[in-house]
């Protein structure tokens, strides 16, 4: 039984990287606006389909992917500015419903176009497998890990070393203060929501390498993104990444050593149990209030 442990860990980390990217993209939008995007899964789905369409038009892979990400950035920013910003001062229920409804409309549009067919994203590289001792490592896993690590490094650099990073930090600390010193907080909200959508789209494209695309992959990713986020601590970027990787490994370990049912339900159980027992997660602040 223990002989397969390294293999489980490696493939768990690879899947976990994908969850980490989804959770990270959720966190970016959440930290900027303090609104959780319940339609985020459908942004992920839209990213994968956008890449599919652009590749289908005969564009080379690299520009197609960049265009897909840019398109999702614009879509995210536009929906935030036009639909969420006007009600940002309103009740949380309206905000959650609005995000959910936007995602829902997108899913409907995707289903009208591709609902009855199974489509897959073509790989831009040869699928291959490598042996590291007894551990099998697929090209897909390497690509996912590489892309996620590259995006993570880019994010760390942007946040810590650029003027954009200082802007992000300023708005995080105090929206009112940032507005008072002349920063355009509204545009910032839109841009960060768009950035979250674009990061999510990157996750969707990577997911498209592993599973066939359906308009419903958003739900699957959203639940896992939420689980990773709660496990890592809501709103913490590091927490999102660590939570995603831990979730991926947990799914594989529980699924193999305990019962295969855990592959499906680990994400649900993690979400429920972490919020009940340990609301701050790994890196977050307390999520519950007692009256």
């Amino acid at each position: 039984m223990l002989a397969v442990l390294p293999q489980l860990l490696v493939s768990g980390v690879a899947t976990g990287m994908l969850y980490a990217l989804i959770a990270l993209s959720l966190t970016v939008g959440y930290r900027a606006t303090t609104v959780v995007n319940f339609g985020h899964g459908d942004m992920v789905m839209a990213g994968a389909y956008a890449a599919l369409v652009l590749v289908g038009w005969g564009l080379p892979y690299a520009p197609a992917l960049l265009l897909a990400l840019a398109g999702l950035f614009l879509l995210g920013a536009a929906t935030q500015r036009a639909l969420l910003q006007p009600i940002l001062a309103g009740p949380h229920l309206s905000l959650a419903m609005m995000a959910l409804a936007i995602g829902y409309a997108m899913r409907g549009a995707a289903r009208m176009e591709w609902g009855s067919e199974v489509v897959t994203l073509p790989r831009p590289y040869e699928q291959d497998a490598f042996m590291l001792g007894t551990v099998v490592l697929t090209m897909d896993e390497l690509v996912i890990a590489g892309v996620v690590l590259a995006l993570l490094a880019a994010l760390v650099v942007i946040i810590n070393l650029t003027p954009v990073g200082r802007l992000i930090q300023a708005v995080f600390q105090s929206q009112r203060g940032a507005a008072l010193v002349g920063l355009d907080v509204h545009s910032f909200h839109g841009a960060m929501w768009g950035a979250g959508a674009a990061l999510g789209a990157a996750g969707g494209i990577l997911l498209g390498l592993l599973v066939p695309l359906t308009p419903d992959i958003g739900v699957y990713t959203l639940i896992r993104g939420f689980a990773a986020m709660t496990l890592g601590g809501f709103g913490s970027p590091i927490g999102a990444v660590v939570g995603g990787v831990v979730l991926g490994v947990m799914e594989k370990l529980l699924g193999f050593y305990v019962s295969t049912v855990f592959i499906d339900i680990t994400a649900y159980l993690v979400t429920i149990l972490v919020l009940l027992i340990w609301p701050s997660g790994l890196f977050g602040r307390r999520a519950a209030v007692r009256v």
């Binding site: 959780v36 639909l83 419903m97 409804a101 899913r107 409907g108 995707a110 609902g115 709660t230 519950a288």
Partner: protein, 336 residues
């Protein structure tokens, strides 16, 4: 101000008599179901089925509205209560051979039990998006149970529920089901109205406005939150058992996220926190999916856009339009 007394009681009647607006409301309330009584004479089986579906969604929307509208908590567990009610009713009827009408109450009680379970995170202080995410996970977990617990639920294919019967009479036509459903829907609205007008309803309102202040004033907020969830689960569970009787086939697909959006649309379009709104929303929205049977995705697109438009331009839903038409429809259970 010596002339204040006659103004306060201009009719000169005793203080116990009802003000005219309340009498009008009561007349209107009972007029609607009475006017609906001859409906089955005019509808064919299919149209009657759609009308029955609307009656199913009346308790479902009323129950959902209590938690998200009156109590103001972001809990997405309604589909879970609905599914549990439907499965409880179906399992009792199919596996144990109970006649349908005896499964209505157990279905409601199972829903109430699920409501108590779903209120645990809220009682532990989980609020806002955290509560939404948790209850979402709860509902999806239950749907997974429906799919995997094959000996009881029949798995992905679901189970066929025997023809519903009441006191030994089999309800073989949609028209017969209509009258039973009408009674149940009216009961759900009347009892919920009673609760919302009592101190329970006022406590819900206080919790919604400011939970901390409500607790500081001595309102046992935990108890009322538990009660709201339990009643919501009870009413929605009964809706679930009506659904099982109407459709005759209970499948896990009926309780997925699409269903959640449908129920959200009913409450939002009708009017958040409004009993009138729940009923109006059920009437307006429930029939819509029937028009999109052959067009996968069109319904999702339409509902998505519809909810967006309602939130932006009509945040109080159709009930607020009715309230502008006539003061009868002004909601007494809800303030902004």
């Amino acid at each position: 101000m010596t002339d204040a007394a006659p103004i306060a009681n201009p009719t000169g009647k005793s203080g116990r008599s009802k003000p005219p607006a309340a009498r009008q409301r009561r007349t209107l309330f009972w007029a609607v179901p009475l006017l609906l009584l001859p409906l089955p004479l005019f509808l064919d089986q299919y149209k009657q089925y759609v009308a029955n579906l609307i009656l199913v969604y009346v308790p479902v929307a009323v129950g959902f509205n209590i938690v998200i509208g009156n109590l103001g908590l972001l809990a997405f567990s309604n589909v879970a209560f609905f599914g549990i009610g439907a499965y409880a009713s179906g399992v009792l009827a199919l596996k144990l051979g109970w006649p349908w009408w005896t499964t209505i109450l157990p279905a409601g009680l199972m829903g109430a039990l699920a409501g108590c379970t779903a209120s645990v995170p809220a009682l532990r202080g989980v609020r806002l998006f955290y509560l939404a995410i948790m209850t979402l996970a709860f509902g999806e977990l239950l749907r997974w149970v429906y799919i995997r617990w094959v000996p009881v639920t029949g798995g992905s294919f679901g189970m066929s529920v025997p023809q519903p019967s009441v006191l030994g009479w089999t309800l073989s036509t949609e028209g017969q089901k209509f009258y039973v459903f009408l009674v149940l829907a009216v009961l759900a609205v009347v009892l919920t109205d009673r609760i919302l007008r009592s101190r329970f309803g006022r406590a819900f309102m206080a919790i919604k406005d400011n939970e901390l202040a409500a607790a500081a004033m001595g309102i046992p907020t935990d108890r009322y939150i538990l009660l709201a969830f339990a009643w919501s689960g009870f009413v929605v569970g009964i809706g679930g058992s009506m659904y099982a009787a109407l459709v005759g086939h209970v499948t896990p697909v009926a309780f997925d996220l699409t269903e959640l959006i449908l129920e959200f649309a009913v409450v939002m379009v009708g009017g958040l926190g409004s009993l009138v709104g729940s009923v109006v929303g059920a009437a307006v929205i429930t029939a819509a999916p029937e028009f999109f049977r052959g067009l996968p995705g069109a319904q999702e697109l339409l509902f998505g856009v519809l909810i967006v438009l309602v939130i932006l331009f009509l945040p109080r839903g159709l009930a607020s339009l009715l309230a502008r038409l006539h003061p009868i429809f002004v909601d007494r259970h809800y303030r902004d």
